[in-house]
């Protein structure tokens, strides 16, 4: 497909359901590094299903490259399923923690107002410092850094992105099918079948 969507680079959210095996992270990671693609964000943690982990990976690439990469990841033994979505197709969040001196917060009402405006909440309050937490998209968490910097931001950390796929109906049913030795047709998806026009063009 030679339209703009296909050849322009944009952020993609790659969701990977895997077994919880040692070494699988390397197998997934080298698929990107081999092609010299930078992983901008990577989150891996247990999914809602016992024994199944879910990766959220963010890269900036063209749709065509992402489609091929998703196929390569899904081919790895230990990987159950890979989805890839643009930012429009997911609801995504990152979490950030900010450590600031408590005396500044206590003394300056303006800081308190700024924190409130940015939806931050205090996680820990000690005599010497306070840790605030916000959840949001990149610009939002970035914005609070800027806000707090003049007031002596001591330390900052941000989590990887996590994303929910808007039109997904979950993974339970699919997993049950994978566990059968002869998976049903619909489960062994043939991407070429239902979305062939999107995938292949002459």
């Amino acid at each position: 497909m030679r339209n703009e969507n296909h050849t322009d680079k944009q952020e993609f959210n790659i969701t990977v359901y895997t077994e919880n095996h040692i070494g699988l992270l390397t197998r997934v990671a080298i698929i990107f590094s081999r092609r010299k693609i930078n992983v901008e964000s990577l989150n891996t943690s247990p999914s809602e299903i016992e024994g199944i982990h879910r990766f959220n990976i963010v890269i900036t690439e063209t749709a065509e490259v992402v489609r091929k990469i998703a196929g390569q990841i899904e081919k790895q033994i230990g990987v159950l399923k890979v989805y890839f979505n643009t930012n429009q197709d997911v609801v995504w969040q990152e979490m950030a923690l900010y450590k600031v001196p408590t005396d500044v917060i206590a003394e300056r009402a303006i800081v308190e107002r700024l924190l409130r405006e940015n939806g931050a909440r205090a996680v820990v309050i000690r005599k010497d410092y306070t840790v605030f937490e916000t959840t949001g998209q990149r610009e939002e968490t970035d914005n609070l850094i800027k806000v707090l910097q003049p007031y002596g931001l001591i330390e900052f950390v941000r989590s990887a992105r996590i994303a929910i796929i808007k039109d997904s109906d979950g993974f339970h049913r699919k997993l049950q099918e994978f566990e059968q030795s002869e998976p049903h047709d619909e489960v062994v998806e043939n991407e070429y079948l239902n979305s062939r026009e999107k995938v292949f063009t002459m």
Partner: protein, 578 residues
């Protein structure tokens, strides 16, 4: 199957027996019907070798001279027999010496199970003696790898390893077993072959709508063209393929990995694809209207410049690996599946035709190629011998029934272009990785995998010197391998490129060789060197009829080039005849 002579562990479930991890490994190999192992012992795999000592009546262990030789032999065995090649190596350097062979097997889809010893689990990560992180080193070049640290895992892990190596698109698997797990005893309750892994789908359900669409395209085509690769052999679908080719009447060309799946002299076999392939198949790739790719992956050596590759054609691609479909060449009809299943379905729907006029076009190009290249290569009038005439003489003497194992470079291209192959699994070469040093050990393995066949290793003077230590393996096992060295005193392919693209600046391509016949003689292997045409046929005859291995060195002309050639960065239709 296990026999009863040994009081040992039966494989029937329930009756638990206490055995060591090392013995469990050996029992797993027997259950998987392994008959040959290529390996080299060392400290961290000693318990396995100790267990093997009790089973030498059932398992033939071939002691190689270097682990790289061991894995290439495993590859040769797998390629000639269609079975899984099994390789043993110790930890550290033993394991790292497998890496080239793993990469080769991965890119050429060769089923292997490699067992490496590893230091005791409590020493992992301490830079212990002969410790390397072989799992992470081999992750990019294995289909699957796994480290065992507890003996009780061994039966299931081995079952999984064999299942993964041989199913779907085959590939190499490496199992690293720590020494404590080899020594540890556990209750063995029997071996269960693996038939399903929930996170692995070796082959898809075939979708008939695509077979239908493929057949429609093929039936409408005026100039259809079949490209086939190794997938036809990997799927054991040679007969299904032949039936499809013959019913459809479509001309068919092969990738180097596919050579021999359809006999060389089949009237619809129009030759080899790619950089040094035949003239017609390359030129007409850019003229056909429907391109039917079967079990091949459009490697850059086959396609040349991609944006000028078969742009006029609608592509039908049959492959078991979905990630190959649409990877390099846009596809109109993706037939995802095992070609053993998809080809008969397609054959049923295609109309019987003969495409005589279109086939005639391939013949016309072939006539031009004969005149410009082949005649002089196979029947030269020059004083010095060509590689092609050696292969031609070999064809006449073997009638095309031998297994031809080749190394990498000019002789490889010449041998693959001109070797007459009557049977499948008769062309064993390092296609994807281009591993010099492959041929000698692979030929040893090929012979073990197909003991009733003549195995001829065609090797250049450069490649032979990379793994000639395996002459020791031949000496010790007495395996019968015919070694044919085509000596042009150059690293010929690099020299050819330097001549054509680097103004003949012959930078480090002149290579000196020892007296190969004397080297062979040192290993107790008979040999001969010939440099005159009148001696060639007799020497080849002597090599073939000699009982046991024989090394024949043929001195060929030094600065011959392999043509035709699709220069790098050019389209297949820009193939040059000189």
């Amino acid at each position: 199957m296990l026999t009863k002579e040994k009081p040992a562990p039966a494989s029937s479930p329930k009756q638990a027996q206490t055995i060591t991890g090392a013995e469990a490994l050996i029992l797993a190999l027997l259950e998987e019907k392994v008959d040959t192992i290529f390996g080299y012992p060392g400290g961290a795999i000693m318990p396995v070798y100790d267990a093997l000592y009790d089973y030498t009546d059932k398992l033939n262990h071939v002691l190689v001279r270097h682990e790289q030789g061991g894995i290439h032999a495993g590859q040769g065995y797998a390629r000639s027999s269609g079975k899984v090649g099994v390789v043993f190596a110790t930890s550290g350097p033993g394991a790292t010496n497998l890496v080239t062979g793993l990469a080769d097997a991965q890119i050429d889809s060769t089923p292997l199970v490699c067992i490496t010893g590893q230091v005791f689990a409590h020493l992992l990560g301490t830079d212990a003696f002969q410790e390397t992180d072989i799992l992470n080193i081999t992750t990019p070049v294995t289909k699957w790898n796994y480290q065992v640290t507890d003996a009780s895992e061994i039966p299931d892990v081995l079952a999984k390893a064999f299942y993964i190596a041989r199913s779907g698109r085959p590939g190499p698997v490496l199992i690293d077993i720590t020494k404590n797990a080899q020594l540890q005893t556990f209750d063995f309750t029997g071996y269960q072959p693996c038939k399903h892994i929930r996170s692995y789908r070796p082959k898809p359900t075939v979708r008939h709508e695509y077979i239908q669409q493929a057949a429609e395209l093929i039936n409408q085509a005026q100039k259809p063209f079949i490209l086939w690769g190794q997938g036809v052999m990997l799927g054991s679908a040679e007969q299904e393929f032949k039936t499809f080719v013959e019913k459809s009447g479509i001309p068919a060309a092969w990738t180097i990995m596919g050579a021999g799946a359809l006999a060389t002299d089949h009237p619809q076999n129009v030759g080899m694809l790619g950089m040094h392939g035949n003239y017609g198949p390359n030129v007409l790739t850019n003229e056909c209207d429907v391109l039917i790719a079967i079990g091949m992956r459009f490697d850059d050596r086959v396609t040349g410049r991609l944006d000028k590759y078969a742009k006029q054609a609608k592509v039908v691609h049959l492959d078991i690996d979905p990630t190959e479909i649409g990877k390099n060449v846009p596809v109109a009809v993706p037939v995802w599946g095992d070609c053993k299943e998809t080809l008969p379905l397609l054959t049923e729907l295609v109309e019987a035709k003969d495409h005589l006029e279109w086939l005639g076009k391939f013949r016309k190009y072939n006539d031009q190629e004969i005149e410009a290249v082949i005649q002089d290569e196979l029947f030269p009038t020059s004083e010095e011998m060509t590689m092609g005439e050696v292969v031609q003489q070999l064809n006449e003497l073997t009638s095309g029934d031998a297994i031809v194992v080749t190394d990498v470079g000019q002789h490889q291209m010449v041998a693959c272009r001109y070797a007459k192959l009557n049977h499948t699994r008769s062309n064993i070469t390092s296609g994807g990785l281009g591993t010099m040093g492959f041929a000698l050990p692979a030929a040893i393995g090929a012979k073990f995998g197909a003991q009733d066949r003549t195995v001829v290793a065609v090797i250049g003077d450069g490649g032979f010197q990379m793994t000639l230590q395996e002459l020791g393996t031949i000496m010790q096992t007495g395996v019968d391998v015919k070694i044919l060295i085509l000596n042009n005193q150059f690293l010929g392919m690099v020299r050819q490129w330097q001549e054509l693209f680097h103004e003949r600046r012959y930078s480090f391509v002149a290579i000196a060789s020892p007296d190969f016949v004397k080297v062979a003689s040192g290993y107790g292997i008979s040999g001969k060197s010939v440099s005159k045409r009148e001696d060639l046929r007799g020497a080849l005859q002597e090599m073939l009829s000699h009982k046991g291995s024989f090394l024949l060195e043929v001195m060929v002309t030094k600065e011959n080039n392999v043509f035709p050639m699709v220069p790098q960065g050019c389209s297949v239709s820009e193939i040059r005849l000189k």
